[in-house]
Subunit: 534 residues, 2 copies
């Protein structure tokens, strides 16, 4: 009997999206190991490389003022290099963006939006979370004094809404804690009974077996007398405990039937231990993710030439020259000894560049993810007031929605901005083809199934399609195992005097830490090369 | 074979302390159900009672300006009653206190302390957490505009330190996520294998059995081919993924041996679903819990007579009279139609009071918890910088320590205040007998076993013994099942014109929600009585 890891009907997370890609590529998840998917989940590089030694008057041109580019600029400038940064947009940050009142965006399909959220409200339509183990990102938030607050990334009280399962829980919002208590409670009951009958397939001594049963009873909140699961206080109460005699102790809630839980498939949101990249404690900058970009910009803004497009990257034995054009259409050429290019491969492969066929083929081998996110301003925080849900995600199997995320700031305020969907792949492509108003209508219709107050509370929306953003053409690089094996090393190596940096040059795909650590690695390589020169 | 829920060697939490008391009283936890312990875990009373109708010029004297007293004052004043509040301390809040620079406290053993934390740092030595389902507390934080932030109450990266177990993990700090992944992974392996051999004690169809096995594989991150657990990415990496080729994908970490995990007993910190009262999302007021007290005080401070001791509570057919003495020693008598007395029973039973023997016996039947908490100011946030632990609790089986808690504010700042222990019962009594400097030394020696940087980072400490606090004489009421059955209803009922309110008059013992909801209930009873009068 061969078991497959269930991904089909589950919530499509960014992680699972990668997994499915791998599966489609004929790669067995179990055989390959997750790391072979080219999507890493942690970071422990905690500080930049020490660039000691002479910089020999060398000049470095950096293409792109996203986090990779600004990291490179900051570290090279500090080491004594001459640094110039070229940025196509009128602002720095790259994908580290935040939409708030007045933020304008016109996508490649021609849809223009201006964010109209109330003052103090925002949506991080790019990166929105900082795992505690992304020490490189946290190195700069600390260095630049960017205030952080915790991001609620897991909430037992948040609903799970699965409509593709079977049985009475199909299409019914249930709280994650209820599903967790029941699925695990019933499983513990079966395991404890199996163990107490001596049916375990393990060489346990009698003493160890007793200890194991004690553990299982403890975990599953089983009745120690008959090893039964009859509910757990962690799933919530039918009547909450309170004051006096009534409600007094309250009344426990009854568990769902075992079969109903199994049939719902809502257990797909459970994991015995949270995936490493999603673990607590998750952090976010106070006021929006772009506070990190602004932190960098305070340091290296003087080195950035904004609103300037790269048209051609040339190199010879003595240096690189980059042909650019400014917002007024004025062309110019920037020369330098080296180039650190952080332009996404999706964009870079459309730019004229002196590079070998191998290098160009490698660039072409990498797909970029269609991604769409929408922020919905609600005039009332009904999820807090009526449902007692403070932050976290409502996981759902509705295509293109995946999760509805509740803000981790502005607790108990009047209004709030919800992430209405987080769409990837073909669903993101489909949704992005709609005019913005239709995207909002799509998000609202879905959210209405979970929260009765959804549509009536809606005020305005802002959505962003990363694959239709001119200077991104995708949310992040998607490495197939094959491309990771061949194209990736070639691109990491760089081409002559041109070094590539960005999340695409890391196993922390789509994370800011990937961009930063990639930049650290490439400036170290560049600096070592300079050191070797006589 | 009869199984006992393991509490002996585990972490002593406030909850488990209650459970042990019940066990000592001969009460079987499994038989009684948790609610019979008189310690409820949720609250759903979301708004105060509507006190409509005439107040008929009645005057109510409220004894105690803690949250129960101020809640009663606020609601009765709003309804039109004449209200006067008597408070023994020079400030309002009762147990809702926060120690920060300059906070003075002299305990009944004669030890005086003045808190010397740096500006901006504090310890909540009383209540420190607001569960998302304590809607009554959240009602007032919203109404009074008390800003909240999330409190990190669960952190997979935080250490578990058990020194009473056996095996190689004994006395070794291990991250909670490691223990969770391994204990649950091995358990899932055994369960999946048992199920695949058809050995489950459950009437599952072949289809349901397959679905169940799929669930178990998913939860335990098992190899679907052979159902083995060989580690999970959620337990962390040996080499973290990063940029380029090296570290590139990183290296997975190896699981601990099954027997070692079992022997460590560190699995006692696990629960298939977090206990309801400890679930995410947990909240705290920005700047200290006493911001709630200050929110109330802004509303009802004008009704409070501070620094005034209650000496005698008398009542007759026409009203109540309360003999008080002010800080200058000046006695006076306050008369009113009714009294709401929120003085802890531990203190009230020492005050001369017109009450029946039944009522006095009932008061005497309730024990109050010895509790001691200590805040340790550290000059460097080594737990964040060196250990990548952002908030949460280090659970330990060290007697009197129980948990070391890391602050959920001031992320990445220079300094921080750690909760060095949370001691209950006899351990709290033992620790409180030491001079404050010795308490700090005790806490530091224990923390040093977990964090090598502990002692060298220490700057100063502030500890608080609730059972030695003059106007509290205990952390909270401890109801035995017997007292809950007999004494509790008598006390909830009140005595003539005197109504009792406070956490002790609820099943939310020790929680602010218990105080508030009890006050709501008693003002509603008082008002109903006034309505019935002609």
């Amino acid at each position: 009997m061969e078991h497959q890891v269930g991904t089909g009907a589950g919530v499509l997370t960014r992680r699972r999206f990668f997994e499915q890609l791998a599966a489609a590529g004929g790669m067995s998840l179990a055989v390959a190991g997750l790391e072979a998917l080219g999507f890493g989940f942690g970071s422990a590089q905690a500080a930049p490389p020490a660039l000691s030694g002479a910089t020999k008057g060398k000049k470095v041109v950096i293409l792109g003022a996203g986090l990779a580019g600004m990291t490179a600029a900051y570290e090279l400038d500090k080491a004594g290099y001459q640094v110039q940064v070229i940025e196509a947009r009128s602002f720095a940050g790259g994908r580290c963006q935040t939409a708030r009142k007045g933020f304008k965006y016109t996508d490649l399909a021609g849809y223009s939006q201006t964010c109209d959220f109330d003052e103090g409200h925002y949506i991080n339509h790019g990166p929105w979370r900082i795992p505690y183990h992304h020490r490189s990102t946290l190195y700069y938030t600390k260095l630049f004094g960017v205030p952080l607050e915790s991001f609620v990334n897991d909430n037992d009280a948040a609903y799970v809404y699965f409509e593709k399962g079977e049985g009475p829980l199909k299409g019914k919002p249930v709280r994650k804690g209820e599903v967790a208590a029941d699925a695990r409670g019933y499983a513990a009951e079966l395991l404890a009974k199996c163990a107490s009958r001596g049916n375990l397939d393990a060489p346990l001594s009698a003493e160890d077996r007793a200890k194991f049963i004690e553990y299982v009873i403890h975990e599953g909140r089983l009745n120690p007398k008959d090893l039964s699961y009859t509910g757990a206080e962690g799933r919530g109460f039918a009547v909450h405990p309170g004051a006096g005699i009534d409600p007094g102790p309250g009344k426990p809630s009854a568990p769902y039937a075992f079969k109903d839980v199994l049939d719902s498939r809502a257990w797909q949101v459970l994991s015995s231990v949270t995936e490493f990249e999603q673990q607590r404690t998750m952090l976010q900058p106070v006021g929006g993710m772009d506070q990190i970009a602004k932190g960098f910009e305070r340091q290296v803004g003087r080195l950035i030439r904004y609103s300037t497009n790269v048209e051609k990257i040339s190199q010879g034995p003595d240096g690189v020259s980059v042909a650019v054009r400014d917002a007024g259409g004025q062309p110019s050429v920037i020369t330098a000894d080296y180039c650190i290019c952080t332009i996404p491969l999706s964009v870079l492969r459309g730019i004229d560049m002196d590079a070998t066929t191998t290098f160009k083929t490698a660039m072409a081998d990498v797909a970029y993810a269609p991604v769409n996110k929408i922020g919905l301003q609600m005039k009332r925080r009904f999820w807090e007031e009526d449902h007692a849900i403070y932050g976290g995600h409502v996981y759902t199997d509705m295509p293109g929605i995946n999760s509805i995320s509740l803000p981790s700031y502005g607790w108990q305020g009047q209004k709030g901005v919800i992430l209405g969907y987080y769409a990837f792949g073909s669903e993101a492509a489909r949704i992005s083809a709609m005019p913005p108003k239709e995207r909002a209508a799509f998000a609202l219709a879905a959210g209405q199934k979970v929260f009765p107050q959804y549509q009536e509370s809606f005020e305005n929306a802002f959505s962003f399609c990363w694959h239709l953003a001119e200077y991104n053409l995708g949310g992040w690089a998607e490495w197939s195992p094959e491309a990771r094996a061949t194209a990736y090393p070639a691109l990491v190596n760089g081409e002559g005097r041109v070094y590539l940096a960005g999340e695409h040059m890391s196993y922390l795909g789509g994370w800011q830490a990937g961009a930063i650590e990639s930049a650290w690695q490439q400036v170290a390589r560049l600096h070592a090369r300079v050191q070797q020169q006589v």
